[in-house]
C-alpha cells in the first residue's frame, strides 16, 4: 500500500497572476500606440509612393533603390558621421572631465554643485529659445554678438557670415553644450558610488591622482560610459531638430544629416514614402552601431555574474 501523501500543488489565484500584467498594461499600450504602430506604419510606408495626395501605391524597393542612387547620399552620410562622432566625442569627454572634477576633486564643495547646475541650464531651456540664443551669437549681421565683438576690436571690418563659413561647427557646438549634462549626471552618480575607502587605501599605497583616475574611477565608469555612448550616438544619428532650427541643413547641404534629409523629404516636400525609406536606413544604421558598441564594450562579459556569486 502506498502511503506517500501527495502534496497539493499551490495554485496562484488568477487575480494574483494578472497583477503584473495590470501594471504593465497601460505602459505597454502607450508603447504600442506611440512606438510600435508608428514603426510598423513607417516600414509599410517606405514601400509605397505615399505623398500629399494620400493615395499610396506599393512600389516595392523603389524608394530604397532611389536612396542608394541619390547623388546626395555620400555627402549626407559623411555629414551624419562627422556630426555624430564629433558631438559624441566632445560631449563624452567634457561630461567625463566635469564629473571627475566636481565629484572627485571638488567633492562636497558648493562650487561643484553650482558648476553642475550651470551645465544643466542648456538642457532645460526649450529648444527654440536655446537655438535663438545661438542664432544671436552667430548672427551674420553687426547685431550678432561675435560679429559685434570682432568689429569693435577691429579684427574684422565686415560682419562674418558664420552660418556660411562654420555651419557644422556651430551645430556641433550647440548640440554638445545641451547634451553634456545628461552624461555628466550619470557619470557623477557613478563616481559618487565609489566607496571613499578605496581612495584612502590607494593614497596609503602612494597612488598618484592619475592612478586613482585611471585605475579606480575609469574602470567603475565602464557601464555608464557604455550606456551614454550608445544612447547619445543613437540620439545624434537620429537627431535633426537643432540642425533644422539652426541651419535647416544649409548652406547647400553642408549640415544635412540623414535624419534631417528624411524629415525634409517627408514633411517639407511631402514625399512621405521616400522620407520613410530614408528614416528606416537611419534606424538600421543606429541598430548596427548599437551592436558594434555592445561588442566593443564587451557587453556579454559585463553582464556575467561575478565569481563570488557563483
Amino acid at each position: 500500500m502506498d502511503h506517500t501523501t501527495v502534496q497539493p500543488i499551490y495554485k496562484k489565484p488568477f487575480k494574483k497572476k494578472m497583477y503584473p500584467y495590470f501594471f504593465i498594461m497601460p505602459f505597454a499600450a502607450l508603447v504600442l500606440v506611440f512606438f510600435v504602430l508608428p514603426a510598423i506604419a513607417t516600414i509599410a510606408m517606405s514601400f509605397t509612393d505615399l505623398n500629399a495626395s494620400m493615395k499610396p501605391k506599393f512600389v516595392g524597393l523603389q524608394n530604397f533603390t532611389r536612396v542608394f542612387s541619390d547623388y546626395n547620399l555620400p555627402a549626407i552620410l559623411w555629414n551624419t558621421a562627422i556630426f555624430s562622432i564629433l558631438s559624441l566625442s566632445v560631449s563624452l569627454l567634457f561630461a567625463l572631465i566635469i564629473s571627475i572634477a566636481t565629484q572627485y576633486f571638488l567633492k562636497g564643495k558648493i562650487t561643484a554643485v553650482i558648476y553642475r547646475v550651470l551645465w544643466l541650464i542648456p538642457s532645460i531651456i526649450p529648444a527654440v529659445v536655446y537655438v535663438t540664443f545661438w542664432k544671436y551669437i552667430f548672427d551674420p549681421t553687426e547685431g550678432g554678438l561675435i560679429n559685434r565683438i570682432l568689429l569693435q576690436l577691429g579684427v574684422e571690418s565686415d560682419p562674418v557670415s558664420w552660418f556660411s563659413k562654420a555651419a557644422m561647427g556651430i551645430v556641433i557646438l550647440a548640440t554638445v553644450v545641451s547634451t553634456i549634462s545628461g552624461g555628466m549626471i550619470l557619470l557623477s552618480a557613478a563616481i559618487n558610488s565609489i566607496p571613499e575607502d578605496l581612495y584612502k587605501a590607494a593614497r596609503v599605497d602612494g597612488a598618484s591622482e592619475k592612478s586613482v583616475i585611471m585605475k579606480i574611477i575609469l574602470p567603475t565608469l565602464k557601464w555608464p560610459l557604455m550606456y551614454i555612448t550608445i544612447s547619445e550616438l543613437i540620439g545624434f544619428v537620429s537627431s535633426y531638430f537643432f540642425i533644422m532650427l539652426l541651419t535647416n541643413g544649409g548652406p547647400m547641404r553642408d549640415t544635412t544629416t540623414l535624419s534631417l534629409y528624411a524629415y525634409q523629404q517627408a514633411f517639407n516636400l511631402k514625399y512621405y514614402g521616400y522620407g520613410a525609406a530614408v528614416s528606416l536606413i537611419v534606424v538600421i544604421i543606429s541598430f548596427i552601431l548599437t551592436l558594434l558598441f555592445l561588442r566593443l564594450f564587451d557587453f556579454d562579459q559585463m553582464i556575467k555574474p561575478s565569481r563570488i556569486e557563483d
Binding site: 495626395s53 494620400m54 549681421t141 548652406p251 547647400m252
Partner: protein, 454 residues
C-alpha cells in the same frame, strides 16, 4: 462607495467620448420659446488671427445673419485656429477638414490631389469677383475649375534708400522720376545693380541688395525666367536660369550681394534698412509695416509717412532688358472650401466668403496686415485712397505674378536655391550652379512634372 465612484466615472467618460465623437457640424434646428423654429447652419472656419482675418469672418457672419433673418436661418461660425499643411492632411484623413480654411495659392495642386478642397465654381458668376483682373482668375482656377477665392494680395516693390541716391548726386527730380523710368523700361535691372555697386564703393551703404527671406522669384522674373508651363502644369528646366545665376555670380563678385543674404531675416533687414545700411531691399508691401515698426512709429502713421517720403523711394522690379516691362510677385492667400460642404450648405458658405470680401473689411485687413485689397471696389474705399503707399501700388497688381500651384514647385525651388547657395557660399560659377540645379531637379522633381528645355 466604490461602486458609486466607478459609476460616476463611467458616466463622465462615456459622455465625454460621445461628445468627442459627434461632428458638431450638422445643421441644427434652433428653437426658443415663442419663436418659430430657426434653421442653424454651422460653418467651421480654420484660420489664424493674423491681420483682420478672424475679425472679418466674425463681421461677415453678423452681416450674413442680418440678411438671413427673413429666411429664418442663422449661420454660426465654429472657429478653429490655423494649422500647418501636415495637420491639414491628417485632419482630412480623419474626415475633419474645416468647411472653410485659408492657405497659399501655391497649395491648390496638392490640396486637390489630397481631396481636401472642393470646387467653388460659383466664383465665376459671383458679383464680388466680377471685376477682378484676369491674373487673379488664373490664380483661382486649376484644372478647369475654380478651387479658391482670393483673399488678399501683395506686390513686391524694391525699396531704395533715398539718402544713398542723394549721396550719388541724384537730384530730387531724378529720384521722383525713377519709378516712371522703370515702368517705361528705360531704367533696367542692370542700372539698379550699377547704382548699388557705386553706393557700396562710396561707403554710402553696407549692403547693396537684400531680399525678403529666400524669395528670389523677383530676380527670376526680371530675367524672364518663369520656370512654369501653365498649359501642361509642369515645371520647366530652362537655360534662362543660367542668366539669373550669372547675375548672382556677378553681383557677388561686385560686392552687391553678401554671402549671408539668405540668412538675414526680413525682421532684421527692416531695422538695417531704416538705418540706411542697405541700398535696395527686395520685399513685399508688408515691408512697409515692418519699417514702421522698426521706426517705432506704429501709432504715428503721419509721422511715418513723412519719414518714408524723406528717406525711401520705391519702384517695381525693373526688367533686365531695356524697354522691358517691370515685374512684381506675390504669395496671395486663398480661401478654400472643404469637401464635406455639400450643395445644400454651399450657398451659405459662398455668401459668408463674399461678405469677408466686402470692401470695407478688405481695407480693415490692409490696415493691419499691409496686404493689398483684391477687388476694384475695395480699392475705391476712402481709407484706401488716403493711404498713398498702398494706393500707388494698386497698378502693380495688374502684372504681379504668383507662384505656380504645381505640387512639385517646392522641390523645384529647393533645387534652384541649391544653385544660388553654391554661388554664394562655395564661390561656384554660374555654369557650375546651373549644372548642380539641373542635376538636383532632374533627380528630385518627378519626370512627368518636369519639362527639360534643350
Amino acid at each position: 462607495m466604490k461602486k458609486l465612484v466607478v459609476t460616476a466615472l463611467s458616466v463622465v467618460l462615456s459622455t465625454g467620448l460621445l461628445a468627442g465623437c459627434g461632428s458638431g457640424n450638422e445643421p441644427a434646428e434652433a428653437t426658443s420659446a415663442g419663436e418659430a423654429k430657426m434653421k442653424e447652419i454651422q460653418i467651421s472656419v480654420r484660420e489664424s488671427t493674423w491681420g483682420a482675418r478672424k475679425d472679418n469672418f466674425i463681421e461677415a457672419e453678423k452681416r450674413l445673419n442680418e440678411e438671413l433673418k427673413a429666411d429664418n436661418v442663422h449661420v454660426k461660425i465654429d472657429w478653429w485656429p490655423g494649422i500647418g499643411d501636415d495637420e491639414l492632411i491628417l485632419q482630412a484623413q480623419a474626415g475633419k477638414v474645416a468647411d472653410i480654411f485659408m492657405n497659399s495659392s501655391v497649395d491648390i495642386g496638392w490640396e486637390l490631389n489630397a481631396g481636401i478642397i472642393r470646387d467653388v465654381d460659383w466664383v465665376k458668376d459671383s458679383k464680388v469677383f466680377k471685376n477682378v483682373p484676369d491674373s487673379y482668375t488664373n490664380i483661382m482656377k486649376y484644372d478647369g475649375h475654380y478651387y479658391g477665392a482670393i483673399q488678399d494680395m501683395d506686390a513686391s516693390p524694391v525699396f531704395i534708400s533715398r539718402k544713398a541716391l542723394e549721396g550719388l548726386s541724384w537730384t530730387k527730380e531724378q529720384i521722383d522720376g525713377l519709378r516712371q523710368r522703370v515702368d517705361s523700361g528705360d531704367f533696367t535691372f542692370g542700372d539698379l545693380e550699377k547704382l548699388a555697386e557705386e553706393a557700396k564703393q562710396k561707403n554710402l551703404v553696407k549692403m547693396g541688395f537684400a531680399v525678403e527671406d529666400t524669395r528670389f522669384e523677383g530676380w527670376n522674373y526680371a530675367f524672364g525666367n518663369y520656370n512654369y508651363n501653365v498649359d501642361e502644369n509642369k515645371m520647366v528646366l530652362t537655360k534662362k536660369t543660367k542668366d539669373v545665376y550669372e547675375f548672382w555670380a556677378d553681383a557677388v563678385k561686385r560686392g552687391i550681394i553678401n554671402e549671408s543674404i539668405g540668412d538675414v531675416d526680413t525682421d532684421k533687414a527692416a531695422p538695417m534698412f531704416v538705418k540706411g545700411e542697405i541700398f535696395a531691399e527686395f520685399a513685399r508691401t508688408e515691408f512697409y509695416q515692418m519699417m514702421r515698426e522698426a521706426n517705432g512709429m506704429q501709432n504715428d502713421l503721419e509721422g511715418f509717412n513723412t519719414w518714408f517720403n524723406k528717406n525711401i523711394v520705391w519702384i517695381p522690379i525693373p526688367s533686365a532688358e531695356k524697354g522691358g516691362k517691370p515685374v512684381s510677385y506675390s504669395n496671395p492667400a486663398m480661401i478654400y472650401v472643404g469637401p464635406t460642404v455639400d450643395d445644400e450648405k454651399m450657398p451659405y458658405v459662398q455668401r459668408l466668403i463674399e461678405h469677408v470680401l466686402d470692401p470695407d473689411l478688405q481695407i480693415n485687413h490692409t490696415l493691419v496686415s499691409g496686404k493689398l485689397p483684391v477687388t476694384p471696389e475695395a480699392q475705391e474705399d476712402k481709407r484706401f485712397k488716403e493711404m498713398d503707399f498702398y494706393k500707388d501700388h494698386a497698378y502693380l497688381l495688374e502684372f504681379t505674378k504668383t507662384r505656380p500651384a504645381q505640387p512639385d514647385y517646392a522641390t523645384y525651388t529647393k533645387s534652384y536655391i541649391l544653385g544660388v547657395d553654391a554661388i554664394l557660399t562655395k564661390g561656384q560659377s554660374a555654369e557650375q550652379a546651373y549644372e548642380l540645379f539641373q542635376k538636383d531637379a532632374k533627380q528630385n522633381v518627378p519626370s512627368d512634372h518636369l519639362i527639360i528645355e534643350q
